[in-house]
Subunit: 393 residues, 2 copies
């Protein structure tokens, strides 16, 4: 059953609710059926490739979403903040990789997590950090650390072939810490322009990680875990020999950046921002809504892609896209919708009060502007539950 | 006394705190002395111009900051969401202008606010909205509405001279609502390139508002309030005849967009994001921190200005800027600091663990990424208090 605007309402909606049962706009709407489809798509791929999934929870930051990834249970996860680590640990997730380079002053929290029974793994790319991690062995906690590998020059990490990786492992293990393995993230894959480039980025990510792992093993370190991943490379990899786990996060929701590089279709996008029309400037061809950058974020990630989707594509409340209607401008609490430049599509008639969905440019950034997800239940067209979200550090 | 890195610590800091008394990075740091100076600067201007201030609380979204604006008490405020209206009303602010075009379904909350004793004023620019506002007069509540005027074609509002303004007032008043006055926001002033342009934008904002107010009065409506404002025009206006109140919000903190158009100096910026160095890529001249766009926002508002400040300028933890050190790239939880292109400044040596301040591009957007402000007390170099922040709708 396709949801209609009249159908999309909270299960608890009452006649007293002036919003007609909908939450106040702007709000985040998640299509649970699409989330489940997106999860199954990646799991199926990784089963074929024979490698495990360690989902990155930084996109959804939601224990509710993470449970869907593990059939209602828990499993290995990746986090971007210690706040996420603490919160997921409190919900039974005890195998956690903190995939952002460690600031040494955060080791106190890492030690506390281990004492609470959490296998919290840290990420480093320098001898200085290795010394700090080793130093806390005095406290009786053996911290497992990943050595970050830089495969494409986009952020941190040691380059494959750099002897620093072995040096870091030596400092870790001699000091009483553990060189758990290597970690690489092909951030450069977000700029791919073809399937061929994506496949090449995935293979380069794999080969870079395996190369450094072999260097470590050649120097006598077990380095059992080889962790790679990004949503684009996870979906493009054709061979993951030597890799033990894949990290990816965005794939649960997808977004227009991912659609723009061909990782998904627009129809796979599982999350949107519901906004209300509050005005018009007919001479300019503008429709104005109550969803500005506070609701969508300021992310303009498609600006450097062949097709600039502004602050997002606009769809009817029940799902189908309005042809070539784009959110082209944003102030804090105002969005401006216009027909894409060069298009012959007509501006739809959307009276004041009409509610629309705006599909996100970058799901991680858009979701971060909200505290909860309103969840469309499969097959009902009804908002049947609310999923939580974390924030902070 | 100038704060030193060693000095900046919470008053409650203890030896057990692995962060050495500082909150976890990234966090928002506010220099209270600068906030007070910025507030006094605008108040002094408006006193000279003989017009009242109705501060926009959407930048700080903090009752603590709003109290500073009223010497510890309350006063007239502007809000961008009904969540702000509700929260400030709960703290005794009862004269509230909701300055975003009204979605009719929100009238239930507006009526509830009036019944709770709050003079909550709404903003409209169409007959449709006026009819919706008038319709709730049946409930016994006379809603005061502002007619939004579009002075520079940047967003919503009726153009000066458009008879729609009078029509809206007629629909309001005949239906039992109140045409409280006119409201204009010179959003175009953010693109000014000189003092002369700022002064012209302020005068145009004033004249546009007064013109429509006079049209309303000529048609028999009292329209007692003429409300104008933006931080650039509030600081540039040389004459505010006919205006009864000025709205401005950003001025409490200022930011690099404001500095870029000459409304303030970089030294006036009262808020920054404190981040920790987590790595280096010496061959590329990169310093990597734990403060990414989740901490700064994705706002790139200076990209269209003569000097692009990236994601922010970088300063020592105790305040002084590092020459030409800019946060030039951001992923979710990583920031990249580099020397500005073309500069001869040397990359400073910032070992892993060093903490720095990143001055914001757009204070409203950066602050929205955080839940609290850590407040540097004047004259002490100590974080002596924590100010709250609201979010949501």
């Amino acid at each position: 059953m396709v949801a209609t605007p009249q159908d999309i309402r909270t299960a608890e909606g009452t006649d007293d609710d002036p919003a007609g049962g909908l939450p106040e706009t702007p709000f985040l709407l998640v299509d649970r059926a699409r989330v489940e489809r997106n999860i199954e798509r990646l799991r199926s791929r990784l089963r074929q490739l024979g490698v495990g999934l360690r989902p990155h929870v930084k996109t959804a930051k939601s224990v509710d979403v993470a449970r869907l990834l593990f059939d209602g249970g828990t499993g290995p996860i990746t986090v971007s903040t210690l706040r996420e680590a603490d919160a997921f640990a409190a919900h039974g997730f005890t195998d956690i990789l903190y995939a952002v380079g460690l600031a040494p002053h955060k080791l106190g929290r890492v030690v506390a997590a281990h004492r609470a029974g959490v296998d919290l793994q840290v990420t480093i790319d320098s001898v200085t950090q290795a010394e700090a991690v080793a130093a806390v062995a005095d406290s009786g906690v053996r911290i497992p650390a990943f050595i970050e590998v830089d495969c494409d020059g986009h952020r941190g990490g040691v380059r494959p072939g750099d002897p620093t990786a072995v040096r870091i492992a030596e400092v870790l293990e001699r000091g009483g810490a553990e060189a758990r393995g290597v970690l690489v993230h092909a951030g450069g894959s977000y700029h791919s322009r073809s399937r061929k480039e994506l496949v090449a980025a995935a293979e380069h990510e794999r080969a870079s990680a395996v190369r450094v792992a072999e260097d470590l093993r050649g120097a006598g370190f077990a380095a059992p875990v080889v962790s790679v991943g990004s949503t684009p490379t996870a979906h493009a990899a054709e061979d993951l020999r030597g890799v033990t786990e894949v990290r990816a996060g965005n794939f649960v929701f997808f977004d227009l950046v991912m659609a723009g590089i061909g990782v998904c279709d627009v129809d796979d996008l599982a999350m949107s921002v519901v906004t209300t029309v509050i005005g018009h400037q007919p001479e300019k061809g503008w429709i104005i809504t109550d969803g500005g950058w506070m609701a969508t974020s300021r992310d303009r990630g498609t600006a450097s892609q062949p097709v600039d989707q502004g602050y997002g594509l606009v769809a009817r409340l029940d799902g189908p896209l309005y042809p070539d209607l784009v959110m082209t401008d944003a102030s804090q609490e105002h969005g401006t919708l216009t027909i894409r430049k060069g298009s012959r599509a007509a501006l739809p008639e959307l009276p004041v009060g009409t509610q629309v969905r705006v599909l996100p440019i970058h799901a991680c950034a858009t979701a971060a502007q909200h505290d909860v997800y309103q969840v469309l239940q499969p097959g009902t067209g009804t908002i049947g539950s609310v999923w939580s979200r974390l924030r902070g550090w």
